[in-house]
């Protein structure tokens, strides 16, 4: 076997997941009027929703036996348990404890997703990016503290 090929520098895998949820951009530290002025239609009282596309990127060496950077079944279990199963068909402001005191902007949903995942990726793979596509025009990406 050509060992130079499998004892390799980092490879990246990006894997996509989808969930449908609702959010309202609303800060409890502001009045209703201030919220509407700051957030516009994103602050309408009953919220609105999106098909969020979550992209998880991990990086690591290619395992010599499996020829893979990570077992995709394990990655799916982690992401579904920590993110998809908890957020899918839910309203961030009302149903998700971690957003009780946080404005559920997609920026903060992305950051919270990073924090929920970063310690669960099995080494030597490691999380390097969490991105969420909120609409066809809007995508947020977080790469952790640098």
């Amino acid at each position: 076997m050509k060992n130079t090929l499998v004892e390799s520098p980092p490879m990246r895998l990006t894997r996509a997941y989808e969930f449908a949820a609702s959010h309202r951009l609303y800060s409890r530290h502001l009045t209703e009027e201030q919220n509407l002025e700051l957030f516009g239609k994103c602050s309408y009282p009953n919220g609105h929703g999106h098909n969020y596309v979550l992209e998880i990127t991990v990086e690591g060496p290619i395992d010599p036996q499996s020829a893979r950077v990570i077992d995709p079944v394990s990655l799916d279990e982690i992401v579904n348990r920590e993110i998809v199963d908890r957020y899918d068909h839910r309203h961030f402001n009302h149903d998700i404890p971690e957003f009780t005191d946080l404005v559920p902007s997609t920026e903060l949903v992305t950051k919270v997703a990073w924090e929920r995942l970063v310690d669960h990726i099995p080494p030597p793979a490691r999380l390097i990016s969490v991105a969420i596509q909120e609409t066809a025009r809007n995508k947020f990406e977080y790469r952790g503290e640098i």
Copy 2:
């Protein structure tokens, strides 16, 4: 001018629009338990949302002067006024009067959109299809009473 080309049989134009909204599949004629059994996670109390992609198809002859089947600016005004501006960033169950007594399934949102549009398309063009893509996997289409 080759008149045979412009005095023509029907041409179709499909034009796409996008809006972000929330809905909850819930019938007031059923108990909470019955709703959950019938609709599953689509009936979670606080609702969830989608990026709805609305596709409007009109059909008509090609106008000899404009070489168009319909003026796209007029079509946009109609669709935005009747659908997009009313539904975007809203919660169907709470904010939209026409769903006070209707379950806002995407089937019925599609049908209501047809009914709101069908009489406004300027002749000789006419509406022939309204479709809504609810998720990357799900698309509904309605073509009126046949």
Copy 3:
């Protein structure tokens, strides 16, 4: 309730599924040379593969209670049992009994999928189209005997 809205003419739902499989265009009634001449690179001996996207379209009235044309969970069970679970990660020529004597062109995969599904759709919904996207450029559609 506005009954005119729910006692309605047909609504269509198109639902998409994906499976990865291999095929080789090869007729046992032709020589190897004839197969290569007829099918070109699609007849290379070890086959090649695709991410097949299967689109199932059903049509029916909107159920007054559920406001749906079909229960999507039931539809998924049928399509997964009859098609996706049987074809996913398989080689049509070697692994799928219904292609022992049929060239697994995407035309015939589409037609066989129709035949495997048409009697299982719960009335009053009925199957009206099965389409398979074979590549980004190629899509086949079958609508049954007309």
Copy 4:
């Protein structure tokens, strides 16, 4: 061989092609001012362009030997010769003879494409639709004289 499978009712194949071209919506029967009023920014003097996606749909029985509805290599030769090679990287108003006297609206480009193709599809397959996607939001379809 299960002959019922291959002596079959019509199957449809839709095949996509792409070309980049320019056009200006402009009628020589109108003044510059009238053109601008009728067509807006689509009539700016130097034109603008699109990545046009052309979708050709043919319909026919599945050939018992090839298990195909049409030889895709032949279809590509026809479409490239009649449409793609003639329109790609060209300006409809200045470079394409068939638009010397026609406004090159995408409606008319679609209709002309139909007329250039309809007699060249080898029987028993026949052309049933020509569609052109002009932008991510706009798609035109023509199905011939009905």
Copy 5:
């Protein structure tokens, strides 16, 4: 409020815009023959066009009050004023002053877009990437002087 969540390291937002325009790859320092040899069909005299998809990526801390990295309405105003409204439905070679002496390759359109935007992004957000997708197969990205 969990302050560690909102006093955060950089978050990235990528926002997409679309415009339809024409260009011709042509250098006034070369003869017609040299241009055709160098640029091929991209140098045909009357130009051709594309649906350009412009992706703007900004990076910055998440604002503690708005939970956002930038106000999207402000970003849209800047990008529309500097790029989209100036280039949409225009011919780069004839209509856009900054390309009077520059070959309007998509490389240079991307670089000019960066230069038109980089000083307008409101701090603490800053521009980190401008990318333009020219066709389904071709994408250019510029990240400034490094």
Copy 6:
């Protein structure tokens, strides 16, 4: 000419290619049972396939004469010769010599593609990324030894 614009820092071009192929995740150093346990359905004996989308990213200065980072015709010749023409409509395990002793995971296909391309990109452009999208949910990227 504004020389500051053309004597420029690196510009990136990402160009996409597509090929249809088959693979089986299988290590000859493991038993059939061990392969099935490790790879699941990806190790079914006859393999399965994908529409692989290959994205090649090169980086370099913008050439002052051509206003391009690389001649796209040359890049296509290199990528087609080294990758697309060799892998398209083939089975990695049986038809491709470089995978005789390597598990053809998409990680290793991506890495091998990098190694086949890296020395052929004409300077001053250089290869900076090879990515392969294996399914709509899965994408691998390799950036070489760092």
